[in-house]
């Protein structure tokens, strides 16, 4: 116990640096996947059959295979197979590859949530808008969108909380996120080696961050309680 207290400042400092990378991946994924998901959702609902079939096959592949495999393929395939290492070297390259994989993967999940949300708004809403002389885009932005957002907040909250924990998968391509930072003390780093507790301790970071997110998302849900 005494030893742990001694090691704590060094470990916390390291874990903080790792967690910043975790947060970066988390927010970049959200910012990329939220709009991309909408594009994919419209693709999969398109009346142009080839487009909707193509989109649905992509979504099926992405949702049907492990994110870890996708990370490995996206990171290593260009360099090892195509001999064209597009991601660049070092931490920056690993981050770009991880961000690309996460954004694409999560956009596919989001697209299905959006699709459900859009289709759950009664057709009567669109018809009422049409009869009142609104354009399709006015109907989407002024009528349908908010109703859809209200409906998708609970499933989106779920995905967002899963994303926080999924960022740890980027460890597989040695992205220096919090799990990587915790593990470093097992092999030996900054004079500490053979310590497993820092790895266990990373769980606290996830737990607290998810606690904050749960509260924020809950508030957002409450905010839209004013209509049904």
């Amino acid at each position: 116990m005494e030893l742990i207290m001694e090691q704590l400042p060094v470990v916390i400092n390291s874990l903080n640096i790792g967690f910043i990378q975790t947060l970066k991946l988390f927010f970049v994924t959200l910012i990329g996947a939220i709009p991309l998901g909408l594009v994919i959702a419209f693709g999969s609902m398109s009346r142009f059959r080839p487009l909707s079939c193509f989109t649905r096959i992509i979504v099926w592949i992405i949702r049907g295979t492990p994110l870890m495999i996708q990370l490995l393929i996206i990171y290593y395939f260009p360099g090892l197979v195509l001999k064209n290492p597009i991601w660049g070297s070092g931490e920056e390259g690993r981050f770009l590859a991880a961000a690309a994989s996460f954004i694409f993967n999560y956009a596919c999940y989001f697209s299905e949530i959006y699709r459900g949300g859009i289709q759950s708004v009664p057709v009567g809403q669109e018809e009422a808008g049409l009869v009142l002389g609104m354009t399709k885009s006015q109907i989407f932005f002024k009528v349908t969108l908010l109703q859809m957002i209200k409906r998708i907040i609970p499933p989106m909250s779920n995905e967002i909380i899963t994303l926080v924990k999924d960022t740890s998968l980027a460890r597989i391509i040695a992205l220096q996120e919090i799990i990587w930072a915790g593990q470093a003390f097992m092999k030996g780093s900054q004079g500490i080696s053979g310590a497993i507790w820092p790895l266990f301790f990373t769980a606290v970071y996830y737990l607290i961050f998810n606690g904050i997110l749960t509260v924020l998302l809950g508030r957002l849900e409450k905010k839209l309680d004013y209509f049904r």
Partner: protein, 264 residues
């Protein structure tokens, strides 16, 4: 000249012929009721008039202007249709109010969006918005909803919702206001307040087409009654012709189900 002429309308969904050679016309200020059993094509006919469905054949003219002609593809362009819809208003059976807006906002929204297309919108923005708001408030008052303007639809009763929906349709000043079974989703207790409002509109010479199962109301409010059966207009005439001396056996049979209602 008739305000509305509907000629030879045909519509099929897959193999089912929903409308077969529907013809009728309507004079300004008249109220027409369309009656008939469920599945006879009444609602589809209204939806065709509001361009929510495209007839397969036929023609629709308003004030002599051809709005739809199945033989002329130019009359079916999406961008044109949006403007043409504005000749008609439609009140739905299930209200279809926008839940995230208050009663007042529901009435104002479409008008505000249309106002943005005016050439002088930017210069007169404040003034135009005031006008729209004043008009919306007076419509809601006319519907007996002055206390309810800032309520959201889920805070209103069905009858109140339907009255908001009527105000919303009237806000765009359509030439012809259509009602698709406006009281069918309401408790019998609440039907009265909606029918009363429609009656008042009729008294003010609002041109209306009403699809309804309320026979005594149809008889009371209409200038003209259309009986539809199996996609055709089987019989049409004045309320007394249709309700007292129907020519067709099928009409008599249909009205027989409502005998108590009509006697009231």
């Amino acid at each position: 000249m008739s305000i509305l002429e509907v000629k030879n309308i045909y519509k099929r969904f897959g193999r089912t012929e929903v409308l077969k050679d529907v013809n009728f016309s309507l004079e300004k200020g008249q109220v027409v009721s369309i009656i008939g059993s469920s599945g006879s094509g009444k609602t589809t006919l209204l939806r065709c008039l509001n361009f929510l469905e495209h007839p397969d054949k036929g023609m629709i003219r308003v004030n002599g202007e051809t709005l739809f002609d199945a033989d002329n593809p130019a009359s079916q362009q999406e961008s044109e249709i949006r403007k043409k819809r504005l000749h008609f208003g439609l009140v739905f059976q299930s209200f279809n109010l926008f839940p995230q807006y208050t009663a007042l906002q529901n009435v104002m929204l479409a008008k505000e969006l249309l106002a943005k297309e005016l050439p002088d919108y930017k210069a007169r923005k404040k003034e135009i918005q005031e006008e729209i708001k004043t008009a919306a408030i007076s419509l809601l008052k006319q519907m007996g909803l002055s206390e309810r303007m800032n309520n959201y639809p889920h805070q209103l009763s069905g009858g109140q919702c339907q009255r908001v929906a009527i105000a919303r349709a009237l806000a765009l000043q359509p030439d012809i206001l259509c009602f698709d079974e406006p009281t069918s989703a309401l408790d019998p207790e609440l039907t009265g307040e909606v029918l009363k409002v429609i009656k008042e509109l009729a008294d003010r010479n609002t041109t209306m087409i009403i699809v309804t199962h309320e026979m005594s109301f149809a008889r009371d409010v209409s200038d003209h009654v259309i009986f539809m059966d199996d996609g055709c207009i089987l019989e049409q005439g004045t309320p007394s012709q249709i309700f007292e001396t129907p020519k067709e056996e099928r009409t008599r049979q249909f009205l027989g189900h409502y005998q108590n209602d009509i006697l009231l």
